[in-house]
Symmetry: C2
């Protein structure tokens, strides 16, 4: 590249873009790790985006109607941190950049949304940002329909690299965005032809333009170092009815000895080469130094949106107090006051009617009373709507003709669905929940982990939660998936036993502010186990005594979900033989672990033998069986230790020995 | 559809295809569950494929040079079972079809490869079959290059539905196949425009033809009920240099009242409608009855390949004894005799040199000695070749110009990579291994679970296995992933502590015949902990005493991988204070659990306090801490209980308290 030509053609642009490159080189050198090449390659595109198109106000990073900027290629985090510093975000003083990748810094190796304002989402696992962005764009559409264009009207811009586009989840996102005609979504593809292993060609020859077009996107190709072309393309991107992809031909690590090579992807820390690049840029400021005029030009960009924001605030004042209050409640993720009341009323009604139902059906019953009062929910399913029971009567389907719709047909795309839900939650104003089979947690895993890491209260409605699924067989029967979700930090895993516990689980899930929930629900019908109405949410304690021993307490059975009824049957068998048996329902291990020791001991006192029963793997159970004053040789587990099989559910429960008789037998063997 | 016109145009074809439809209707009705519509829609395509194109011999289902037929849309399992029954596969007598979806039947709800010959892979989780198929086709290319076209020369045919094509993994597979010009891969897309929720349009408007073409496929569209068009397209599909996709326009549940509706996807069990469909077909045989002439025509098809097979066997006789023996060894998945010897020699050398190395580097050192003697290995990486250390000096890159290559650049496609490895292993003749970061186990999860369920000895080289990854931060630092892999049935999880244990882990992984292995390897350098050479593979016992207490044994430290050295340091601290401390290295929990109780007690005797140390979540550890005669209040754990952070590795180990001092402190607190 002829840097001198680039520089002389657009000297003002060049100095602004070069500030990003210089800060990137300096921060990576200081950390002695990181990824230099991408920020250096995409600095021109990002500069034009921030200077002329992105609606933002650096002094109000949480302005609800800002455009969202998603760095899907999260390894290029210094691009984002440079922009946030240069434009004057409070969370990004120069010291943060000097502390790049150090403990406690806001400038983590990859952008982490929970560390600082200005970081819209956590990226790094490739393909996630572009898929979150689909959720951001859907959230904008839904909120615009709900609150009006004067209050909600913004774009979502994504920078994605070849890694993002190779990950399968990107196809799910691209196809969903195309189907939904998300015209305010703009993807800037960093087409630099380089991945870690070498040129893209080593692993891929896909014509990305044709691929995006095949899914209903409009596409343009530009020189990603030409500010006029970038500007024109971004202007074009805000027109029309389809999502837009701009293929930006760039040079990774522009101007460095490693330009256009895979070495350029990583940490360019060689001091001489670093200096040589700066000389080539015509940049003579010292490390982390930004010439005053350049900094000042960038800070002006940071203030570009202030007037727009004031105008928006004025418009917000113009709407009715009620609507404004609702907008604030929604955007702040607060549950409406009525929510608790409708759930309590529902529970009371269940105590009277004692409904028998599969918990997936119970979930639908709860949603039927919740959705009309909690208008923030957006439901969906990965093509299992009738099986997951996630669409309630009041919900219309969201599509290009009905942006009021609150139910999304995500298609057979569990991963894209979860990532889109993350985007909606991050955007704010939406409480996303969606369903698939529990076993397909596997497909959604990367995004489910990010819900937890990003502290987003997404709700995963995972039905068909055991061998109780029956004939579809082991490919569809989760056995290790409760353990997988429970092993994940900051995740609540609910496995309710009946309609009442399902209502309690939903109440907890819908009032979380920083934790995702997994609702593990049965396909098969279950009896009511909660006989008396309690206004209090017993599930909030994680576990509680469902039924105590009639005589001397000799055994404690601990169970979750569909196995609580089995434990109750086992109790009846044991009591008939004079063996006093307590049944503890444990719908949420994580919440039980959070209770104080006194409560935990009250529920699980030392002394009696303990048998846990759950149609899943034992992993995770030993704490409650062997620990918490349990004792080896005085505890056992009834559940799965292998994959399931294809047969009717009741046959499988017999075959794998998950029966009241087996539970009672284990108790007697321990006594 | 005018069935009468279809029937009269090709009566012989019609009766054969209708046999599939009738058996499907009967089996689903008998099971009262299943998926009728897809086999009914694709019966014509499958009939022509089996009758005129597929190279197979029903009497020799394991014939190595057969074409592979992959039913990616696995819910349509009755299509496959019908074909296998009709053509005369021994494992599929009529009784098996009558027992569809019942316990112990070979006719599980979804096809399960390990239940019967004739089922090439386990499908049902959508997108897996088409992605396995890429691995099958790669295996064929590599083996053809290795053993010659006279011995290996076959096609891979896939039937995929809209669900398969919506799953992101299909994009990874399609792009990889296009890049690799897998000309012997043929995908038959069941283009019926229906998914469970309704018409495809609800969730997708992708132009699939354009999408495949964008990735370098040749595509044709046909009427999937017209046998001539099907035949012509299949003839065409065997020409040219690119993979082929045939878009087959079909009617789901052809001829049934539910034709062309989402209801048609599921179980069509209504007796009257079933009968009406059979009448419309002109089929008057009773349930599960196949007219003798039709059965006989199908059986003739089942024998179509016999002559070809004999010719192939004759050709196999013509090659040298040595080459033939090697072919058989390879295809039977037997390790060469030399493998054990080279690994023992390598260990001996390590005992002398005491190499310090990251275990990812250790893994490369092992592979450098293994790959030249085990020619069945095919390595790869999801664009982290230099980080995963999976490419050895003798390995060339596999691509369209070099089918001899044994290293595959999978691109940033962890899921597609894992699924392709499953396909290679299922094909036979290949021992696939490949790498990514341990944290991205998440992306590969659905296929990793299937390695376990399908009993395939795939090796996952998962490097950067903890916070020891350092600055890339929590998005890249696994904490729950050891628990996730350990919770999965039939999976060996190895976390070796040094070069010697890494060699032992590889030996075990490469000699498995029905179990996948996960090698959890460090980024950071580790000291040698195995000081003396033992010819015996100590890792085979799962855990062993690495260093015993010097005086009275008061404490046992259990550790894995990078934390074994920390445990050894803690031991030194404790012994200095007179606290006799044993260190147990536990590179594989699953193998330790398989040892007899006497051995387990010898390694972990009752009495001493126990502290486990592993830079991951505690889940899975309580068995060894609290159980096995451990005791609460006498055991503790040093590890992670949250996500990690972005900082240098050594800072993180301090920050999260995973240090020798912390371990020693825990021991003293328990004593």
């Amino acid at each position: 590249m002829d840097l001198e030509a680039l520089r002389s053609a657009n000297p003002d642009h060049w100095s602004k873009a070069t500030a990003i490159r210089a800060l990137t080189l300096d921060a990576v050198a200081a950390a002695n790790s990181g990824h230099s090449g991408m920020p250096m390659g995409m600095a021109d595109v990002a500069t034009v985006l921030f200077e002329k198109h992105l609606k933002f106000d650096a002094s109000a990073p949480l302005w609800h109607d800002r455009d969202r900027f998603i760095l899907s290629a999260g390894h290029g985090s210094m691009l984002l941190y440079s922009l946030l510093h240069l434009t004057g975000y409070e969370d990004f003083p120069l010291d943060e950049l000097k502390n790049f990748r150090q403990l406690g810094a806001k400038t983590a190796g990859h952008p982490e949304n929970f560390l600082a304002n200005g970081i819209e989402t956590t990226t790094g696992p490739l393909g996630q940002g572009i898929s979150n962005a689909v959720g951001f764009a859907i959230a904008e559409e839904i909120l615009r329909a709900r609150f009006g264009k004067k209050i909600v009207d913004h774009h979502t811009y994504v920078i994605a690299g070849d890694g993002c586009l190779m990950e399968g989840v990107s196809q799910e996102a691209i196809a969903l965005a195309g189907r939904q005609q998300l015209s305010k979504l703009v993807v800037l593809w960093d087409n630099n032809n380089i991945t870690i292993d070498g040129t893209v060609d080593l692993a891929d020859r896909t014509d990305q333009i044709k691929r995006f077009e095949a899914s209903g996107w409009d596409v343009r190709e530009i020189d990603g170092h030409n500010p006029e072309e970038i500007d024109e393309a971004l202007t074009w991107a805000k027109t029309g009815k389809r999502p837009k992809m701009i293929a930006c031909k760039t040079h990774i690590a522009l101007g460095h000895a490693a330009q256009d090579t895979s070495k350029g992807h990583g940490a360019l820390t060689d001091a001489d080469q670093l200096q040589a690049a700066k000389i080539a840029y015509g940049w003579d400021a010292g490390p982390f130094e930004i010439p005053a005029d350049v900094k000042s030009a960038w800070e002006e960009i940071g203030r570009r949106g202030t007037e727009d924001r004031f105008a928006w605030e004025a418009r917000l004042e113009e709407i009715s107090d009620r609507k404004r209050a609702e907008f604030h409640r929604t955007m702040n993720g607060e549950a409406p006051k009525k929510l608790g009341a409708v759930i309590r009323a529902f529970k009371k009604q269940c105590a009277e009617s004692q409904p028998k139902a599969a918990t997936r059906k119970a979930s639908e019953m709860v949603l039927e009373v919740v959705n009309p009062v909690l208008l923030d929910t957006v439901g969906g399913s990965a093509d299992l709507t009738g099986s997951n029971n996630t669409k309630t009567g009041d919900m219309e389907v969201f599509d290009e003709t009905n942006r009021d719709g609150r139910f999304i047909h995500y298609g057979i795309r569990e991963h894209g669905m979860a990532a889109a839900m993350n985007g909606m939650a991050l955007h704010g104003g939406i409480r996303p929940y969606s369903g698939t089979f529990m076993c397909f947690t596997d497909y959604a895993r990367p995004a489910m982990r990010l819900s937890a890491l990003m502290q987003q209260p997404v709700v995963y409605v995972m039905t068909h939660d055991s061998i109780g699924l029956g004939e579809d067989g082991p490919t569809h029967q989760p056995v290790e998936h409760l353990a997988i979700s429970r092993a994940t930090p900051n995740t609540l895993v609910f496995r309710p036993a009946d309609v009442v516990e399902t209502a309690e689980a939903w109440e907890l899930a819908l009032t979380q502010t920083g934790t995702p929930s997994v609702l593990s629900l049965t396909r098969q019908g279950l009896p009511a186990v909660r006989k008396d109405h309690k206004a209090k949410n017993l599930t909030a304690q994680g576990a509680y005594v469902l039924a105590d021993a009639e005589g001397k307490r000799q055994a404690i059975l601990i169970a979750t979900g569909s196995e609580v009824a089995i434990a109750m049957e086992a109790k009846a068998l044991l009591e008939a033989e004079g063996i006093g048996t307590r049944v503890v329902s444990m719908p949420c291990m994580e919440l039980f672990a959070e209770q104080d020791e006194a409560y935990r001991k009250r529920v699980l006192p030392a002394g009696p033998v303990r048998v846990a029963v759950e149609a899943g793997m034992r992993m995770g159970w030993d704490r409650w069986l062997l620990g918490e004053r349990g004792r080896e040789k005085k505890a056992d587990f009834v559940g799965m230790s292998s994959f399931g099989a294809s047969a009717p559910a009741e046959v499988l429960y017999e075959h794998f020995g998950i029966t009241a008789k087996a539970v009672a037998g284990k108790v007697k063997a321990l006594l």
